[in-house]
């Protein structure tokens, strides 16, 4: 893990449900959080790979 604060990336393959939003809110609390939406347009996978390698942890939701 880099630094004191965990860096977490939330990736969405579809529009998040209320349950997913709630879980993400808890997981992101007091952390350095980022997100990437795969369901909008043509995703830039180079940027996504950069983000994945820049974060400590990635969660990819349905």
């Amino acid at each position: 893990m880099s630094g004191d604060t965990m860096k977490i990336l939330q990736v969405y393959k579809s529009e998040p449900t209320d349950d997913v939003k709630k879980l993400v809110e808890i997981l992101n609390r007091d952390r350095d959080a980022d997100e990437f939406k795969l369901y909008i347009g043509e995703p830039n996978y180079d940027i996504l790979i950069q983000k994945i390698f820049a974060n400590d942890k990635t969660v990819c939701w349905w």
Partner: protein, 110 residues
């Protein structure tokens, strides 16, 4: 074994995201990373997608595997119908997923 900082793991559990799997693999290889991929359950249907062979060519042979039990459960023949790009040795168990978690510094579920 400590995770390799240059290895990226993809655990494929859905049968409908080949575009993302291929896009991520191409981008990871372009960034100088090695990619390990395991297909399980209904995602083994993606082995019938024309892009599957392309995907296998981006990875080392031993780094792509499918769950043999899943393949058989879905009605495919694991002896006479090994997907193009794989060998019968790449028909594996869930232990391959465990190896991805151990060996890859970064990981995503598709």
């Amino acid at each position: 074994m400590a995770a390799d900082p240059n290895k990226f793991g993809i655990f494929v559990t859905s049968p409908q995201h080949m575009r993302h799997i291929l896009g991520l693999t191409r981008a990871a290889v372009h960034a100088g990373k090695k990619v390990m991929i395991f297909f399980t359950f209904k995602s083994v249907h993606l082995t019938k997608n024309p892009d599957f062979y392309t995907l296998t060519q981006l990875c080392d042979l031993e780094d792509v595997a499918i769950c043999a039990d899943s393949y058989i459960c879905e009605g495919f023949d694991n002896v006479n119908d090994v997907p193009r790009g794989l060998t019968d040795k790449q028909m594996r168990t869930q232990a391959f997923h465990g190896a991805i978690l151990d060996e890859c510094a970064k990981y995503i579920v598709m």
